[in-house]
Amino acid sequence: MSVTQAASDEVLIARIAQGDRLAMQVLYGRHHVRVYRFGLRLVRDQQAAEDLISEVFLDVWRQAGKFEGRSAVSTWLLAITRFKALSALRRRKDVGLDDEAANAIEDSSDDPEVAVQKKDTSEALRECLTGLSPDHREIVDLVYYHEKSVEEVAEIVGIPENTVKTRLFYARKKLAELLKAAGVERGWP
């Protein structure tokens, strides 16, 4: 039986559980870019992000039979990606990062001061988004780019739903501070 575009992610997972390589290729084709981008924003290294997606989808191949369908497949993929990205960060002996240290570090290459010279607010905004801490960057990406609900973000990140809401609020507050420091006034706060 051929795999068609109409096959849902859940059907693909069921077939992957049976060892269907074609279903695996279709699932990979659908999700690998978003998984890569999410991973890249966490590990900040293209090579590491590519290794990461191979590991994520290999996990899917191995664990497909255990997928219970309680959440969307895309949510499951992002949760695996996050777990593996944090594991990869821990393994980076050369950088010497542990979890807390990784979360505390902001992107030094994206100094908000630089954004002052940017031509427009949009560019400054992107600079400041890059300058957020990993925790804040992650939640902003999950909500805005990956369009995950409060419940889904809570599942992916492994935090209570109320914490999801407050964390995004404070991420936005931090973003506003970075923008203000960069000379951009948006009328909020």
Binding site: M1, S2, T4, A6, A7, S8, E10, V11, A14, R15, A17, Q18, G19, R21, M24, Q25, Y28, H32, V33, Y36, R37, L40, R41, Q46, A49, E50, D51, I53, S54, F57, L58, W61, R62, T121, S122, L125, R126, L129, T130, V140, D141, V143, Y144, Y145, E147, K148, S149, V150, K165, T166, L168, F169, R172, K173, L175, A176, R186, G187, W188, P189
Partner: protein, 231 residues
């Protein structure tokens, strides 16, 4: 509501304020989306904050889209690893997955044909059931001019030349009234209404006098306008 956004950042954010990013992304449920819409309509400061959020939303998408895509190396590495995995013992899919897989494998055209055939099969089935029911109920009749939920007919007996009559019921006569009347006179309706008259058949033969007397009595019934003998 104005006070809602006045306290922004100075105090704990309100629930509505915290939901704004999900509203921008369109991932709120209908109830929360309605709450946010109402709050935005009534609070200009909140609406201003929402405009800033829309900007963040757009730039976050722009930023992520600019990250590019992984090279083919990632896929090659993945499938090389999959090839190196031990062969998997195949088990049958769960029923739900098998059904989903079957329908997912059909093209839209095949699905449309399947649905059409299914509808025809249903119609045929309904026709067959109807025909069978009609065959098994050859000796029963039902009034055509009354909306009935219960039958006002009775099975006919095999008596020879039973007496017959034409009856017109009053407009206010209900099905229950007519049924009770027919029961009391041991009669059944055997023909539909023509000019408002129903053809009745009694359960026995009667002399002309006996029938005239009975029809006279029937004519005086509350729900009968007219009752006359019929050949």
């Amino acid at each position: 509501m104005m006070a809602l956004s006045k306290k922004m950042l100075e105090q704990e954010p309100s629930e509505i304020e915290m939901l704004l990013p999900w509203h921008a992304a369109g991932t709120l449920n209908a109830r929360d989306a309605r709450r946010v819409e109402e709050a935005l309509a009534n609070d200009p400061a909140l609406a201003k904050q929402y405009a800033a959020i829309r900007g963040e939303y757009e730039e976050t998408i722009h930023l992520n889209e600019s990250l590019g895509a992984p090279s083919a190396r990632a896929m090659q590495k993945l499938f090389a690893a999959i090839d190196a995995e031990p062969a998997r013992a195949t088990t049958s899919l769960p029923l739900s997955a098998r059904i989903s897989t079957f329908f997912a494998s059909l093209s839209p055209r095949a699905l449309a044909w399947s649905a059409g055939l299914g509808a025809i099969a249903l119609l045929l089935q309904a026709g067959i059931i109807g025909a069978v029911l009609m065959k098994t109920q050859t000796a029963t009749f039902q009034t055509a001019s009354l909306s009935t939920s219960s039958s006002i007919t009775r099975e006919l007996g095999a008596a020879a030349a039973p007496a017959r009559a034409l009856v017109r019921f009053t407009p206010e006569a209900r099905v229950g009234d007519i049924t009770a009347l027919l029961d009391s006179y041991q009669a059944s309706i055997i023909g539909d209404a023509k000019g408002g008259m129903f053809r009745l058949q009694f359960d026995r033969a009667m002399s002309q006098d006996e029938l005239a007397s009975l029809l006279g009595r029937m004519s005086r019934e509350k729900f009968v306008n007219l009752a006359v003998a019929s050949p």
